[in-house]
Amino acid sequence: SQWGEENLQALSIQEGEDVTMNCSYKTYTTVVHWYRQDSGRGPALIILIRSNEREKRSGRLRATLDTSSQSSSLSITAAQCEDTAVYFCATESITGNTGKLIFGLGTTLQVQP
């Protein structure tokens, strides 16, 4: 598997709290995609972070990428109920350069009111 350490996790937090989700990967990548998936829907991209960016922000979201440790994280500040979803990290396989995405198992985040 691409993702050596990550297992499917379920996190439950209170509204207003901060949360960080982590991913590690085994093979080299130049970009990490973070997707969220709501129940019954397909994944939707929330942040794409490239190897020349150690950190990237989008609103209350912050992604980091450490290519030396082959890990990435996604943080949500002041979580809201609408942040409840499954969050996936995905890397792009550089073999063949075809855009193939390799997904992690995902983290199920439940934000309680």
């Binding site: 995609h33 997707y35 397909g42 996936f88 855009g99 193939k100 390799i102 997904f103």
Partner: protein, 114 residues
Amino acid sequence: GPKVLQIPSHQIIDMGQMVTLNCDPVSNHLYFYWYKQILGQQMEFLVNFYNGKVMEKSKLFKDQFSVERPDGSYFTLKIQPTALEDSAVYFCASSLAHISYEQYFGPGTRLTVL
């Protein structure tokens, strides 16, 4: 934002039958993908497609699988014949370019093979 549509949303068929899953990608996108997700497991890449040809396929893309996009219409995934282990949700995605670009996903087709 741009949307990818998938038809049907659910399909139940008997083992051995043929099934075609349809995807209507974002109109100006050039790269198309199929992924498979079994409940509780990670999303797995099946195949990608560009300029009328398969670019890359995974081990999950068995000989019974085929893809095409005739005349710029639906991007289809055909399974013939189906097997029990083909039961899963199949997601179609499309992108404008293939490296470091967002892939837009459809809502998925839930396939149940009996």
